[in-house]
Each structure stands twice: as structure tokens, then as C-alpha cells.
Amino acid sequence: MSEAHKYVWEGSVPLQIHLHQSEVTTLPPPPPALVLAPRIGYLPLLMSLLKPHFSSALPPGVDTIWFEYKGLPLKWYIPTGVLFDLLCMEPERPWNLTVHFRGYPSNLLLPCEGEDSVKWSFINSLKEAAYVINGNCKNVMNMSQPDQVELWRSVFSGNLDSYRRVSSKLKLGTFEDEYMENINSVSTKSQQSTEETESAGQVKTGRVPVRLYLWTVSEDFDDFEDAPQIDNWDKVSYINRPVEIHKDDGKYFSLNDAVKSLLPEFFPETSFVNEVDGSINQSTGEEGENTLDPVPSFHPHDNAEIKLVRIQGIEPKLEIPFSWVVNNLMNPEYFLHMCVCLKVSEAKAVQ
């Protein structure tokens, strides 16, 4: 277990959750709930903490929990940490969210039936990831019920050890850059550290499941505070393409490379023409989210400027080896979630 893994698993976003005014029936209104939400967790899972806190103030009726930030209803299948990284340019600690228990905006959000919905979404993502990695999701589907339960439990409760135990059975391996062989040796079973050089275990080069959240700005900004607020999901384009780790002689595959490979339309000079097929959002046969983003246009642009790449709450240097990023910063469902902000000279290409 690497240090980075620990930080990733233990990472929590401090939330100050306010009950929406329209749902307050007591005087005085209930104080906001202060919770630490795991980055790798999902907002609906906080129900068990929030419900007792706010139950006294709620109007009578059936509770369906949903969250919003500054008027923007939050998609529940996106991990909490990602939402935070995406929507708070300047990290707001604690992050002020508004919780609703009524009036679920079915026109904007997918229905969520509580923990089970989240769990199934997680499993689906896991299957998707397995497919990307192995070409099939047999290992996931063949997972025993108790293993499934425990896997979810470990994710739910943030138990890294228990997770490792179960996930290792999936044999999804790690990702390795050929080049990095000398630097990083990877073993599915052994701990991974950036300094270790071990004999190679099971090394894969291949496709990395990535979910990229992109928004563009036309104007430059220096401080994140000045960054334009994302007030509409339409402003965010959701790119669900795997990344092929290419070996380049003399050069390892960096994060920068990965981003550019994912966004050829913004970086037309890149030679990763093969990634163009990523324009088609991969939709696995399993149940999954409907991507709401339209197909990005093929208009060639001038090179956009990468303003921000945020993964797990940090902005790694773009030179960082992508393989390290993947191995250390991926979510439990084996996806790497990245938030990218590009400055584009033209009017917004992605609407």
C-alpha cells in the first residue's frame, strides 16, 4: 500500500450541508450538518448521517435525498471528491452544499433509490472498467455475492485493507509504462511506491479507464477564485474514453500526453490520431450512465491551453508519469476521474 493510496482512501471533503429553506418546518431552522464525506464515496451515502440530523425539521412525506451546489443539482453517481474538484475551482473548505429531501428533480437527475442505487452504479462502473482493461468483465460478474458485498462494504466504509483483499481477486492489475519499468515495478500484490524498483510482476500496458470532466473558458484567469462558475451541466463535457499508454522512446507517457490524447480536438497537433475513435463515447453494454454531452465537434482549433488538471484534489504536474497517476490516484472502481479546464481562444466549442 503506497502512501498515495492511503491519502486517496482517507481523503474526505469537509461538507457543511444546509437543509433547503423550502423544506424547513421548524423554528429555528436546523443548523447545517458538518460531515466529512469520503472523496471516493458518493453523496447519497451520507443519507444515514443527514437524515437523523434533519429529520425533525422535515415536512411530512417521503424522503428522496438530493444535493445541490449554488443552485446546481449534483449528479449522485459522480464521486464526492470529483464533484468537489470540479465545481469548486477555489476549494471551499468546508464545502457548502444544500440538501433536499423533497422535490427530486427527475428532469435533471437520474433517479436514486438510496444506497442500493449507488452500489449498483458502482458495480457497473467496475464492470466497465474491467471491460476496458481486460476486454471482458467476467471476473467482476463471477465475483461471489459475499465478495461483492464486502467490496462494497469496504468502499462504503473506506476500509482500504478489506478492499485490497477483495479487489486483488479481480486481478485487474496495474498499469505500467514500459519505460517506467526501470523506475516503477508493479506487483498486484506488493506495495507500490514511487521509489521502489522491484522485479516486474504482472505488468500491463494498455487501456486505462478514464472519466474526464472538461470545461472550457474563453478568458484567462489567474486565480481560481476568478474562474467562472459552473452553473450548468451543459458547461461540462463528460468524456468517457480509455487512454492508451503509449511508449515513446526516450519518454514516458506523461499526464499531459494523456490529456491531450483524450482531447484531440483541442490539441490537433498531437499524433494520437488513434484516439480519435474516442470521440464515440464508449457505452458499455451494461447499464450505465447516459452521457449527456453532445458529440464534440471536429472543428480544428488552435491549441487550447490546459489551465487545470485536478485529480483527487491535487493538481499534479503535467510531466508526471501517467502510469503513476493511474496506479495511485484511481478510484475504487478502477476508473481515473480527471477534471480538466481548458482555455480556448474561440467561443466555447463544447456547449
Binding site: P14, L34, L49, P91, K251, P316, K317, N328
Partner: protein, 515 residues
Amino acid sequence: MAKACCKTQEEIASEAIKHALKALRKRHFLEEAAHAPAFQALSRPFVSQGSEWKEKVENLQVELQQCYKAQSRLSEQLVVEVAEARASKASIQEKETAIADLQKELTEVREENSHLKLDLEQKIKELEVVMSENSELKAQLEQMTAKAKNAEAENKMLIDRWMLEKMKDAERLNEANALYEEMVERLRASGLEQLARQQVDGIVRRSEEGAEFFLESNIPSTCKYRLNAHEGGCAAILFEYNSSKLITGGQDRSVKVWDTNTGSLSSNLQGCLGSVLDLTITHDNRSVIAASSSNNLYVWDVNSGRVRHTLTGHTDKVCAVDVSKVSSRHVVSAAYDRTIKVWDLVKGYCSNTIIFHSNCNALSFSMDGQTIFSGHVDGNLRLWDIQTGKLLSEVAGHSLAVTSISLSRNGNVVLTSGRDNVHNLFDVRSLEVCGTLRAAGNRVASNWSRSCISPDDNHVAAGSADGSVYIWSISKGDIVSTLKEHTSSVLSCRWSGIGKPLASADKNGIVCLWT
């Protein structure tokens, strides 16, 4: 070159990795490390409090249930109590109304009672009154019956007495008849006697000393002269012995001598300092002595008209004076200082003083000059011895003051007049009353009104307050004449020694001479 690149790339890579780790660490510190403890701390009390509150709530709910149960029990009780209270209130109300009624009845009955009491009292009072009246009437009845009895007895007794008296009367009548017969006899006899005496007396008288002067005094009837003698009143008049000269003294302090034949003033004796209250003249007609209100006596010599003596010693007005008929030396005077003084004219001073508690109004010497007759305010006549000044005898003459003493010519009878309008004649020797003279209109005018006996000792003349002069006959005992001329009270009457005239003086100072 590739290796160099790789090296540099290695470095770059490891640097980037380090940076990433650093960033992760930093984020950790900023996010969960910073907030976890606070959130925990905040949540714990909520959580624990939540459970506490839950417990409390449960307990309170249990209590509340119990309270509800108790409340329901109490409200049941309350309902019961309220019903009972209402019932008792109703009964109280009834009782109160009953009480009010009873009180009303009670007051009414009390009123009746008081009325009845009042009535009863009234009746009792009336009854008492009636009973007392009854008892009074009973008593009266008894009295009446007793009176009646007494009256009957008296009646009986009176009848008896009357019978007795009648019998006595019859007896007396018999006696009277007998006496009458006797008296007729006597009268016949005395008539003869008197006739004889008179004749004898006349003879005798003529043979007595001074018989030449004797004249039959007649009863005067007319006023010969009316003299305005003195201003203010004339109280003292006096005839000279055996003469018709009249001496008068009055309020005007003068003593005048009149000739009564002519009615003219002969002389006027001056020198008296006060009103002349009484006059007397010596037997030889030489000296006139006047008693004055100035506490003095004045002695004039008639011929010269000068005052010979002034006798002082009295401390009050001198109201009576007399001179001895024998010696002409002794003068006696009485004053209102309760004294009677005897003066010696030769010596010129008082030789004796008699003090008596009752003032003397009138004086007279006896014929022998040894005894003084005095008439006093207490109505008594007294006799004094001139030498010793001792009281010889005393006799009650009048019921009021004696105003006049005058001796009869023969000296046997003294006439006293009193304020009781009675004129008494006393026998000198026995001091018994031998005659009493009265008259209906005769009122003695003053304490010093002087009356006199006629020279024939048969008549008395006295003045009256009504201005008339009454003349009585001694033998007849009755008025024989009333002389009216004066217009005011007659104070003094004097009969001349020669029989006429009679002089009277009144309060206005007028002197009438009657013949």
C-alpha cells in the same frame, strides 16, 4: 541523447511524483485532517445528545402519560365535586331563602310583640290610674261620710246650743228688762243729781280762784278769722292764760302773737333757727318757750321780744315742750333723740335728762308740777317724777303713736290723741280710761296733731286730716259739731281759756278762729 533525456526525464518524473505526493499530503492536511476532529467533536455531542434527548423524550413521554392518567382521574373527581358543590349550593340557597322568610316572620312577630307590649303597658297604666282614682274616690267617700257624720253631729250640737242660747237670750232679755227698769229709775235719780251738781258746780266754780274768768264755753260754729299765720305750715298754737291772745309758731321760724279779737298780728318773735314744732307759755304769760327743729329751745321775753335763753342739749329736733304751771321755772322738753329733758330757766341749763327707748311726741306737766305726762310713739302714756326722773307709771293708751296730751282745766282728766284716730280721756289719779272719742272721718293728721279740751271740760276739739275740726261732747261721747273751713290737714286745735275762740292751725299755715 536519449539516455540523457531519460535521465532528465527520470528526474522530472520523480520530481513530479514527489510533488504529487506532497500535494496529496497538503490536501490531506487541509481537508480531512483539519476538519475531522472538529466534525467529530461536533457530531459526537449531537449523537450522544441525540440519544440523551431520546431517553429524555421517552421519560417525558412516560411522565406525560402518567400525568394524563392523573389528569383524567382528577377531572373525573372534579366533575363529581362540581356536581356535589352545585347540589350543596342549591340546598344552601333554599336554606337561605328559608332563613330570610323566617327572619321576616320573626321581625313581624317581634313588632307585633312590641305593639302588644305597648298596649299592655298602656292598659296597665290606665288600670293603675283608674285604680288610684277608685281608691281616691273611696277615700273621698269615706271622708264625705265622715264629714256627713260630723256635720250631723255638729248640726245636732248646734241645734242644742242654739236652743241653749235662745234660752239664755230669753233670760237676758228678762234681765235687760229688769235692768232697764232699774236704769230708768236711776236716770231719773241721776238726772236730778246732775242738775243739782251743775248748779252746785257753778256755784262752787264761781267761788274758785279765777272763777271770774269762767265762761261757759259754747260750741263754736263759724270761722271768725282766717289768718295766714305762717308760710309752710303752722304746727303749734297756744292761747295766753285767760286771754284771747294767740301765739303761733310755724315752719317759717317765726313766732307770732295775734289779737284774736281783731285777727291782727301783734308781734313777731324772731330768733328761732328752725321750724317751731311746739310752744308753751309760762303761767304768768311772761315767757314763751318754743321747741325747734334745730335741736334747740328758745325762750322769749314776750314784752321785749328778745330771746332770753337758748336751751341746747338735744341732739335731734325738739317736738314737745311744756312749762310747769306752778313754778314757771321748770321746762320739760322731748326730742326725737329719745330723751326728755328738764330745764331750769333760772339757771339756763338742763337739770335732768330722761332717756326712754320710745320717742315722746307730747308732754304735759301735771297740775302740781311734780309729774310729767308723756305720750310715746309706742302708744303708751307714761308718768315721770320730775325730781328723780323715774317712771312712775305707764299705761297703754293707743294702738299707735300718741300725738297729743292735754290736761283738763280741773286737772283731773287727761286727753290723749293717737294715730289710731282715737281720743282717750284718762282719769289722772287712776289712769283709767273714762271716755273714748271717735269719729268716722276723723283722722289724726300727724304724729304731733294736738287736740284740746274745752275750758268747761265738756268738749274735745280735734283736727282731722281732711281739714275739718271735730268737736265732741264728753258727756254725750259723740260729735256735736264739725267745722269745715281748712283746706288742708288740721294740725292743732286750742281752746281759749276764756271759752272762745277756738283756734285751729293747718298744714298750709292758716289759722282759723272759730266762735
